[in-house]
């Protein structure tokens, strides 16, 4: 109502602007603004190279976290081998770049072709790993992905010196370090655009339906096989792209990096970010990468030994604080947002508050039937009447 009144007064542009669901685009906008700030700073020569390297790392983590988030958070399949896909992308993309840079030069075209080569080869691996996913459940699938990651690592590790460099590592071309992080963040935007649109589309709803109940999804006519393979392929594709970026940010590629521990680190980003929350994954990827880099560079010499101790303690405390059922009351009570909101809405009878379906910023994780039924769809002026019994009692 209020909205309409304003737009009548101020005309078409504002009306159009109001219609845009800003919440849907907030992550693009934030990243784009930061990118502009940082790239002007970098291109005018005012940025330290350590900050550029850090931003590159953050961008790579973001792509990895968002792509894994699609697999774990939305499709609901646990993957412990995401670094394996990255490994395939990094090696094949890096090799392509190394071959092409001899003839095409180490420019943007080579970079694009390498990206495609790395992404597509990783996607093919994704489909191959996705096939068992049709037959396996939960932790059994998790170990297949873990096995895939270790196999990929081992194959590249033992390759001959001529093909993939073996234990000495594959030499890959390096992109201009001043602008690599800009390309990396553009790729983050691309990843977001593709994955977020996918998740918000009909296909995305099908994918979350599979996560919530595969049998029910199948019963409603969703092609579970196709969707699972698509998600595996897409997730692997973007991991492969992150791999190519990684190969560009390093002179030599060593497959020992892409082990179980790295897969776990990506998973930590997704879990800390919140399952099924892309923005959460972005934030967690930034914070964890930043924490790791800072721990390594601040704790030098004899203090280096404390890095893992601090990282592990922080990890355990955050997970327990944000997930422990016993602390849920505490979390609700002292969450800053809630404190603020309580002040604002103190007088409103909680029974009258309704979730507005339009304000859902993301696909609801589990749609509870009684919540869905309790949404009052009548026009607002009729809504003041309190409905009795629209919220059934909790029966746990």
């Amino acid at each position: 109502m209020k909205e309409e009144r304003i737009s009548q007064k101020t005309g078409g542009f504002l009306r159009a602007a109001k219609k845009v669901r800003w919440k849907h685009y907030v992550n693009y906008i934030v990243i784009a603004v930061l990118l502009i700030v940082f790239s002007t700073s970098s291109l005018t020569g005012g940025m330290r190279s350590s900050s550029q390297y850090l931003l590159e790392k953050i961008a790579i983590s973001m792509i990895l976290a968002v792509s894994l988030s699609m697999l774990v958070g939305f499709l609901g399949e646990l993957s412990l081998g995401h670094a394996g896909f990255m490994c395939v992308g990094a090696y094949l993309g890096g090799k392509t770049a190394a071959i092409l840079s001899a003839s095409l030069g180490n420019g943007f075209l080579t970079f694009l072709i390498a990206l495609l080569a790395g992404g597509i080869s990783a996607a093919i691996c994704g489909i191959i790993v996705g096939l068992p996913a049709l037959r396996l459940k939960g932790d059994y699938l998790a170990i297949v992905t873990l096995a895939f990651g270790e196999i990929a690592k081992s194959i590249f590790m033992n390759s001959s010196n001529e093909t993939f460099g073996g234990a000495l590592g594959l030499e890959t071309p390096r992109y201009d370090r001043k602008s690599l992080f800009i390309l990396a963040f553009l790729l983050v935007l691309l990843t977001l655009a593709v994955i977020q649109n996918m998740i918000r589309s009909r296909h995305g709803r099908a994918i979350t339906a599979i996560r919530d109940s595969e049998i029910a999804a199948r019963a409603t006519g969703i092609n579970v096989t196709r969707y699972k393979l698509i998600v595996f392929a897409m997730s692997a594709f973007f991991a492969g792209i992150a791999g190519v970026l990684y190969s560009y940010s390093n002179q030599t590629l060593q497959s020992s990096k892409f082990g179980f521990n790295y897969s776990i680190e990506i998973l930590v980003m997704v879990v800390l970010g919140g399952m099924g929350s892309i923005n959460g994954s972005l934030i967690a990827a930034t914070l964890i990468t930043y924490l790791n880099v800072k721990l390594a560079t601040i704790l030098t010499g004899n203090l280096a030994i404390l890095q893992n101790l601090i990282y592990a303690t922080v990890l355990i405390l955050i997970v327990i604080f944000s997930n422990a059922p016993a602390l849920s009351g505490f979390r609700e009570k002292y969450a800053p947002m809630n404190l603020w909101r309580r002040k604002r809405t103190a007088k409103v009878d909680p029974a009258l508050r309704r979730d507005d379906a339009k304000s859902w910023s993301r696909i609801p994780t589990k749609i509870k039937m009684d919540e869905l039924l309790s949404i009052d769809t009548r026009p607002e002026e009729h809504r003041a009447v309190r409905l009795e019994g629209d919220k059934p009692e909790r029966r746990d």
């Binding site: 059994y140 170990i143 101790l309 990282y311 016993a326």
Partner: protein
């Protein structure tokens, strides 16, 4: 001849994997969590053996202390890190387990330094049968793992506590309604798992008497693989998976052309087995209900 030696080597390695996998499988079956810190309990066990061996000089006493210490540590970790998360997402527990694993490794490096240390847990005489020499530790490891497996099976089948464990692993809610103290059962599971980890630490040290802070991570992952091959949650399955993995590893190591690919081959076998039998050799098939 050569084949037999290789097989025997594989059996002793398999025995170690089996013992670790038993711990994995128990914890998974009952607490429904992947305890990635299990491998690091082995490491703690190894270091405890080292410390008490230096103090007392007796390997048997040191092992007893190590088992006691690991049990205490296991219970402590369960109470502090896993119990608060009971009822929340299994992934959250997985991440804390990883955190605990990093924490233990890092503490070990701080306390014992980064140099790996030799631990001489004593030497068992080797036996020979018609020209084939079997190392003492092979016999010990195999005997240990078989005894442990039999004891565990009997414990689960024949005691009230074991049946309660079975009930908790079948349906935690129903077991609770039947008066089973679920928290206590889970603690007991961790007690058993940690004790087995300490024992596995001893066996590993007998075979390869050197220890560092990453002592348990690779055996931990391998044993997890073994537990899955056998069917996670199944006790004989863990034994079977462990032995199979040990023998495969030993054979692969023997053939020098494929030796570098040992890991890849082991994990490849895992994938093939899971494709044929999606819940491992002896795992229970669960039909999904709506």
């Amino acid at each position: 001849m050569e084949l037999i030696t290789t097989l025997i080597n594989g059996l002793s390695l398999g025995g170690i994997y089996a013992m670790i996998a038993l711990g994995y499988t128990m914890v998974y079956g009952i607490a429904k969590m992947l305890n990635f810190a299990h491998g690091d309990i082995i490491m703690v066990g190894g270091y405890t053996i080292l410390v008490f061996l230096n103090l007392t000089g007796s390997p048997i006493l040191a092992t007893c202390f190590a088992i006691a210490f690991c049990v205490m540590l296991g219970v402590l970790v369960e109470k502090l890190a896993y119990k608060p998360l009971r009822g929340s997402s299994p992934l959250a527990v997985l991440i804390t387990a990883i955190g605990v694993s990093y924490l233990l490794q890092s503490l070990a490096q701080i306390l014992f330094g980064s140099a790996s240390k030799m631990v001489n847990v004593g030497y068992l005489d080797s036996l020979s049968f018609g020209g084939i020499t079997v190392q003492g530790y092979t016999v010990f490891t195999l005997a240990c793992s078989i005894v442990v497996m039999i004891c565990l099976t009997l414990f689960i089948k024949c005691t009230r506590l074991g049946k309660a464990m079975l009930a908790v692993s079948e349906d935690r809610g129903a077991a609770q309604l039947m008066g089973v103290n679920v928290n206590r059962i889970i603690t007991i599971t961790f007690v058993i798992g940690s004790a087995l980890a300490a024992l596995a630490g001893l066996c590993t040290l007998m075979k390869a008497p050197t220890i560092s802070s990453t002592f348990g991570s690779m055996p931990g992952i391998k044993a997890f693989t073994a537990a899955v091959i056998g069917g996670i949650g199944s006790i004989p399955g863990a034994m079977l998976g462990g032995i199979l993995l040990g023998v495969v590893e030993s054979i692969c190591n023997r053939v020098s052309s494929i030796a570098p690919y040992t890991d890849a081959i082991e994990f490849g076998i895992l994938i093939v087995i899971l494709l044929i039998r999606p819940t491992g050799f002896l795992g229970k098939k669960r039909r999904e209900k709506v």
